[in-house]
């Protein structure tokens, strides 16, 4: 009975995908463009890697400065939300207890907001994350916010992101983006747009990614007003509607926001990727073309490419022909694949937790025939992928890393731990990290042992 369920009935199905989720995976076939079914409800009980709307909202809004982040719910949501992308932020919690769950937490929330106003009068805004518990009990958060605003004079903004909303964390990203649009962007009417002012949407400064991008753009003479939300502050968001161009880096989080800003303020937007040499050059050219800075762009590109060329040649020599499986959160699946292909690494399979149709189309167009594209890959599928394809290295989130190691497969983690991956300089880091993971002598030792270990078979 079980065996039948796992039997593969047609070669078109992704070989490692769970049978109940067959529609969520496609094998690339140049003749028949197809994307996996995405943005659908998660199959319960299969160890999905997805997270909740609150997770997404925290992911998006955590770096917002000059604001206090108050999590309205049991204390644990705040405890976990303290660490986002391996960075620690200060969080406040209303610490709902049994009493408030039964009789309503609005009074406690108001009390909390007043206490924050008293203790931290310098803050410019308070974000109130509404989690599952108050989402169920139906606390009137808006009213509490209004009352607190009148009493303290600090802007109180509810972020309505109970965990059960939507199917994955991208719902939270959208909610977070909407909050910024409604309550933060464009509050400063006096701001004037400089000729080379831009925003970067969907950039989160993982290990200094944003610093690299900002430096590159700075050399072209471009001024970044606000990077959402790498360096977003309440002040610079107020001016963020007076720019010439919105640059979208992560499509899933930045895309809808850019579209709304285009409708509301008439700001054009362009989707780029700063990962990989070719893509970074394309990105700089595209941005340069929009701002009439073609010459500056070409100058920067020429200088930077010359600097990294020798290094990359070496890395390409070492990495060419290796095979990789990529399991990312969302919109990186397309752009990151170009990076790997640039290094001569073959992508066997790509999966994402919450990618949209556009992301999968992107990925589809860059993948070789026969490779697999899977939505919401779960732990078991990753393991079966390892068994069936024997990749040289896997790239993905923190949670798959340790289990891949147990199977003797090297792993590179995203969001990365070692340094920026963006831009020319960052691409070198990426290549080095892949090489580091592959060449570690520990894998040689492990493999040597398992070959001599005659008794065990996988």
């Amino acid at each position: 009975m079980l065996k039948k369920e796992y039997a593969l009935d047609g070669f078109k199905r992704v070989p490692f995908i769970d049978p109940v989720r067959a529609v969520h995976g496609v094998l690339i076939d140049a003749a028949a463009p197809a994307v996996p079914a995405c943005d659908q409800r998660t199959v319960p009980g299969v160890m999905s890697q997805r997270a909740c709307a609150y997770y997404g909202a925290r992911w998006f809004l955590a770096p917002l400065k000059q604001a206090i982040h108050l999590v309205h719910g049991p204390v644990s949501c705040a405890y976990y939300g303290e660490t986002v992308r391996k960075k620690k932020y200060t969080v406040f919690s209303t610490d709902l207890s049994e009493k408030e769950v039964i009789f309503g937490g609005e009074a406690k929330l108001l009390q909390n907001l007043l206490e924050i106003g008293e203790r931290f009068p310098d803050t410019k805004a308070i974000l109130i994350y509404v989690t599952c518990a108050p989402g169920f009990t139906g606390d009137n958060v808006e009213r509490a916010c209004r009352n607190a605003e009148q009493a303290t004079g600090i802007r109180c903004v509810p972020v309505n992101c109970p965990g059960f909303l939507g199917y994955h964390q991208a719902t939270g990203h959208e909610i977070g983006a909407q909050v910024l649009l409604d309550h933060f962007i464009g509050r400063d009417d006096k701001a004037e747009a400089g000729s080379y002012d831009i925003n970067i949407l969907g950039e989160y400064d993982v290990m200094g990614d944003y610093k690299v991008i900002k430096a590159l753009l700075g050399r072209m003479g471009i001024n970044v007003v606000s990077a959402l939300t790498a360096d977003a502050t309440v002040d610079n968001l107020a001016r963020a509607h007076r720019v010439r161009l919105n640059v979208i880096h992560c499509r899933r989080t930045g895309g809808p926001m850019a579209e709304k800003m285009r409708q509301k303020y008439g700001i054009p937007h362009v989707k780029v990727s700063f990962f990989g040499v070719a893509q970074t050059s394309t990105a700089l050219r595209q941005i340069g073309a929009r701002l009439n800075l073609q010459e500056a762009a070409e100058r920067v590109i020429a200088e930077e490419e010359a600097m990294v060329a020798a290094d990359l040649e070496r890395y390409r020599w070492e990495l060419s022909g290796k095979r990789v499986g990529l399991f990312f959160g969302g919109s990186r699946i397309g752009s990151m694949q170009n990076c790997y292909r640039e290094l001569g690494i073959e992508v066997l399979a790509a999966g994402s937790q919450f990618g949209g149709k556009d992301d999968y189309r992107d990925a589809w167009s860059t993948m070789k025939p026969g490779a697999a594209l899977v939505d919401d890959t779960n732990e078991e599928e990753v393991l079966r992928f390892i068994r069936q394809y024997r990749p040289d290295v896997i790239a993905g989130g923190m949670r798959e890393k340790w289990i891949a190691h147990k199977f003797g497969i090297p792993f590179t983690v995203f969001p990365q731990e070692s340094g920026p991956y963006a831009g020319y300089f960052g691409f070198r880091n990426l290549a080095r990290d892949i090489l580091v993971a592959l060449k570690a002598p520990v894998w040689q030792i492990v493999r040597g042992e398992s070959e001599t270990d005659a008794g065990s078979t996988s």
Binding site: S48, C52, Y55, V75, C77, A78, Y79, I116, G163, G166
Partner: protein, 490 residues
């Protein structure tokens, strides 16, 4: 020339004397109004030091052999916890989830539970599934007992009588608003014994140990002590070979670590001669349950950290089992005492702040007092009934009067420490920022150590754990007090 001569600096001044006053890093720091800081005067929690009940229940569920927790809640409830386990232990943590979406929020989680349980068991063949509820499922009022019956029926229908009945389903009710991870673990220990330990007919001359949320290294140390004494013991939620496993591919699918408490072991726990709960608040409930149900004597706390507490633990084990404490353990004790004597000039009269979960904070406070350190502030993230009295009892013996924060947050700890300087902080990784801000060393111990590696492999309990903690403590103090002198002579 001689008139312009600079005064010759006097050598031999200790660095401690040179440090005049500890100032906060930020120059514009204005001390807060002392009335506004204490947790007692406010309802808002800033930088909490405790997490939710499901965390404890999942920790327990992973401590079973071929055991998987199943979380009846939204996806984040699992993802965040898996992420936390991964960061602490650098090991995979497989936790299944019912994936609540809006439909489950409106219509209840019955469909998700039955479907999810079926998917999980068909794919992973676990021996035991810990059903963990969350705030969502508790608020919408999911009737988990009936859900479990329905899921069982579905499994039997699909997999046959034998295979469908094989996986044990243990329900742990953990509404996260009602307590912290400590309570969750406590409840899980009781739920497992209630569900599985029914037999009290065949005495097995073993003891039960409920270790609480300790690290794999602690459990190894515990097993070492018991082995030296020749005592057979069941350890309930033995995570030592779950969260610290060897890298030995090829592995089989589905992946399970080799360790964990077996279901048969838990079933036999009703026949044991005594139960030791090392932590009062983590596992005490289970020990008390066995005492009430089968009249198995329960020895609850204190955590065997430092000299006196370990002595007490070994003495009790020796009394219960009739085994002598062997010379090897007495030697270990002697080595710890020797170490304490050799390093006393580094530890004596040092002012220390301690925070963490209540039991480990109590244990560390006792050990710090034994080392001659003066506890200035002791904080427990979880409020318990006995914490204040326990700490007062310990420091009373040594004549100290620390600030005791029972169930407070890191904001209060930080602000309190700014007004009363300390030499060293002992606690988990959440204190890294405080230590940086106050410019004092942080010695990491406890459950949530995720910004340094290897801490889960090394014990803090027992005599050897004491040696390790003491070494860490002295090294941190030395690194900090004499940063420029590369070759410190002891």
């Amino acid at each position: 020339m001689s008139s312009n001569c600079q005064p010759i600096p006097i050598e031999g001044i200790a660095y401690n004397q040179l440090k005049i006053e500890k100032k906060p890093i930020v120059p514009e720091y204005v001390p807060r109004d002392p009335v506004l800081v204490p947790k007692a005067n406010r309802t808002v929690v800033v930088n909490p030091s405790r997490t939710c009940m499901p965390f404890g229940a999942m920790f327990a569920g992973l401590g079973m052999h071929r055991g998987l927790p199943f979380v009846q809640g939204a996806q984040g409830c699992t993802t965040y916890v898996r992420y936390t386990f991964c960061r602490i232990f650098q090991e995979p943590a497989s936790i299944a989830n019912a994936s609540f979406h809006e439909d489950a929020a409106v219509f209840g989680g019955r469909k998700n539970f039955i479907e999810g349980m079926r998917n999980l068991i068909v794919r992973y063949h676990p021996d035991v599934v810990t059903v963990v509820t969350t705030c969502s499922s508790e608020i919408i009022g999911d009737d988990m007992v009936s859900f479990i019956k329905a899921a069982r029926k579905r499994l039997i229908k699909e997999l046959g009588e034998e295979e469908g009945n094989r996986p044990k389903l243990v329900l742990v009710n953990t509404p996260s608003f009602a307590g912290s991870h400590i309570v969750g673990y406590d409840r899980a220990s009781r739920a497992f014994l209630e569900t599985l330990a029914q037999d009290h007919s065949k005495p097995n001359n073993r003891i039960n140990i409920l270790p609480g949320m300790v690290m794999p290294g602690d459990l190894r140390e515990l097993k070492h002590m018991l082995r030296e004494m020749g005592v057979d013991a069941y350890i309930l939620f033995d995570i030592s070979d779950v969260f610290d496993t060897p890298l030995m591919p090829p592995q089989t699918l589905p992946y399970y670590p080799e360790g964990g408490t077996r279901v048969a072991e838990v079933e036999d726990m009703g026949n044991s001669i005594a139960t030791f709960a090392l932590c009062q608040n983590e596992g005490g409930l289970g020990a008390r349950y066995l005492e009430q149900k089968f009249e198995i004597p329960a020895f609850i706390g204190p955590m065997p950290m430092g000299v006196k507490n370990t002595d007490l633990f070994l003495k009790r084990v020796s009394e219960v089992t009739g085994r002598e404490i062997p010379k090897s353990l007495k030697d270990e004790r002697g080595r710890l005492l020797d170490f304490m004597a050799d390093t006393l000039h580094h530890t004596m009269m040092k002012r220390v702040a301690i925070f963490g979960d209540p039991d480990i904070a109590t244990g560390i406070t006792r050990f710090a007092c034994e080392l001659g350190m003066e506890p200035v502030a002791v904080m427990s993230g979880t409020k318990t009934k006995t914490f204040t009295a326990d700490i007062e009892g310990i420091v009373g013996e040594f004549g100290f009067k620390p600030l005791i924060l029972n169930g407070s947050d890191l904001f209060e700890l930080e602000e309190s420490l700014k007004t009363m300087p300390v030499d060293v902080i002992i606690g988990n990784s959440k204190g890294a920022d405080i230590a940086k801000e106050l410019q004092v060393p942080l010695v990491r111990a406890g459950l949530f150590v995720y910004d340094r590696v290897g801490y889960h492999k090394r014990p803090v309990i027992g005599y050897r754990g004491g040696e390790r903690l003491l070494a860490d403590l002295v090294n941190a103090i030395m690194d900090f007090s004499y940063p420029e002198e590369r070759t410190q002579q002891l």
